[in-house]
Amino acid sequence: MTTMEVRHDAAQHAAGRHNDLAIEVRGLTKTYPGGVEAVQAIDFDVERGEVFGLLGPNGAGKSTTIGMLTTTLSPTSGTALLAGLDVARDPVAARQLSSVVFQDPVVDRSFTGRRNLELHARLWGVPADRAATRIAEIAGAFGIADILDRPVSGYSGGQRRRVEIARALVSDPQVLFLDEPTVGLDPRIRHELLDVIDGLHADSEITTLLTTHYLDEAERLCDRVAIMHAGRIVALGTPAELRTSMGDEILELRVDGNTQTALDVLQARGVAGDEAFAVGSTVTIPLRGRSSAETVAGVRELGIATTAITARPPSLDDVYLRLTGDRLGPD
């Protein structure tokens, strides 16, 4: 695994806190028939009550990881524990503790929202009176009380998503899996839904593992983030830790010419350090205490043609670019 200095060593992270862990993943690997290694020996822990994000582009292995944790995919090797229960050895008990909101709509459309929620309650063994109370409580909190007795087929995308999240909460799960919960929603509804998800964490100690390829989602919702690339975790830490791993400020050069040659020259002349990297037409230089003016002057002196120069604080996208060479965002 490629690691950053901020990455928590999994074993060290777990030491002495086993009982506080909602999710423990060790060496989890999934190789699909045909040899596609979707997830490669990943390790991470999620503490009880934590919001943990798996961040990465489509195909990074995020949904495969959730699939293994929710027992709809069988691991090729490695172990995953939910509240101490091995998901491979005791899948029914592990599923009892968790709920999932899937990336695509997974709902009985001809049923009302209420019937979908009641079905979840029955399958998770929630007593009928408790389920009725829970549904009323959640419907009020999510603002879906007035649509709950209409067929789901008539819901908007945002309403359906709310109902799916509400459904997952009916059984009081200890662990909630949210697989790309806002994908495909328009920006307004997406932000409303982020408020809903944020509210979950504010009002309860539910443990949440969410996957996303939206940086703002990860920054806003997650206590810690694991960046996945090509089936591996390439960085893990709080959003702030990950950002500051590149210093307080970066200089972004849009180069008019061969970007790699420009980077080589900048590094050879000491204008850019080893951390600088080139992707597409952009060279990114972590300043590490140097002033942006000084660095821009160095660029000018070397005669490197640029179309734009920007100095700004680093983002998770920069961290990801540095580690993988790919830009985050939907494919």
Binding site: T72, V92, Q96, S99, V106, D108, F111, L123, G199, E205
Partner: protein, 279 residues
């Protein structure tokens, strides 16, 4: 937002074994979904009713056969109705997978074979309803049945077992194909072709010798022979299969053959479903 989890302790203890309640919930769900698409009930019924009420009397008239031929074909059409309905029921499994709540069900803390059992119960119930409608139509058309209590039990037992077996095939096929088009393309080969060979419209001994032997190994041949024994008191089908005059023994053997088929297909379907659910 109001607090969503006022008590953050572990969920209340739940009974470890609650298979009955879960199966009832799954069957109720499937039944409600089926009831919302009446064509699932009506479409499989159309062809057999047409056979029993229109084609059989027409054949009788054209071929100058006895009145019992109508009864013979009426029972024979049950051998078409059961496979057609159970195979159509299998389509709902694909719909669940493609655009329904299947993954939510797979994430539930239940033993996954119960999902098959829930679907099976509804498939058998709708098939029973359709067989009842077919027989009611036939009775209204004055088609004669010779039913005793024992005969009815033979009929019910074999019809039930055959429906279970055919639903097992439907569930297995649904688990193994990726698209509903592939599924539908295979239905005629499974539901209709055996019907022509199994003594539905004529005794299996009327077939060429090789096909007669093939027919003897078809579960549908055994099922139809027993149904006719049960509803018409006609043991010729059993005799044609086993070439023995001991009707009770041959009926038992044929029921055993269908039961074995039902057991096998149910086991295969549960395995196929579970394997397809977890990749």
């Amino acid at each position: 937002m109001t607090a969503l989890t006022p008590d953050l302790a572990l969920p209340a203890p739940r009974p470890r074994s609650r298979s009955f309640g879960v199966t009832r919930t799954l069957a109720a769900r499937r039944f409600a979904l089926t009831a919302r698409t009446p064509r699932e009930l009506v479409v499989p019924l159309v062809t057999p009713v047409l056979f029993a009420l229109v084609i059989a009397p027409a054949l009788k008239k054209a071929l100058h056969t006895s009145a019992s031929y109508e009864s013979y074909v009426a029972v024979g059409t049950i051998g078409l109705l059961i496979p057609l309905n159970t195979m159509f029921s299998g389509i709902s499994v694909l719909v669940d997978r493609e655009s329904g709540a299947r993954r939510e069900l797979l994430a539930a803390p239940i033993h996954r074979p119960l999902l098959v059992v829930g679907n099976l119960l509804v498939a058998v119930a709708t098939t029973a309803l359709q067989v009842g409608v077919l027989l009611a139509f036939a009775a209204l058309r004055r088609i004669h049945f010779d039913v005793t209590a024992t005969g009815l039990l033979w009929f019910l037992a074999v019809a039930l077992l055959f429906a279970i077996a055919m639903y097992g095939i439907a569930e297995t096929l649904a688990a193994r194909v990726s698209r509903s088009e592939e599924y539908i393309a295979r239905v005629p080969a499974i539901a209709i072709v055996p019907w022509f060979l199994a003594g539905s419209l004529f005794p299996v001994t009327s077939l060429p010798v090789v096909l007669t032997w093939v027919a003897r190994f078809l579960p549908l041949t055994h099922a139809l022979a027993l149904m006719r024994w049960g509803l018409l008191h006609d043991s010729s089908g059993l005799h044609n299969i086993w070439r023995s005059g001991n009707t009770t023994a041959t009926a038992g053997l044929s029921l055993g053959a269908v039961a074995l088929f039902a057991l096998l297909m149910t086991a295969v379907s549960m395995r196929a479903f579970t394997r397809a659910a977890v990749r």
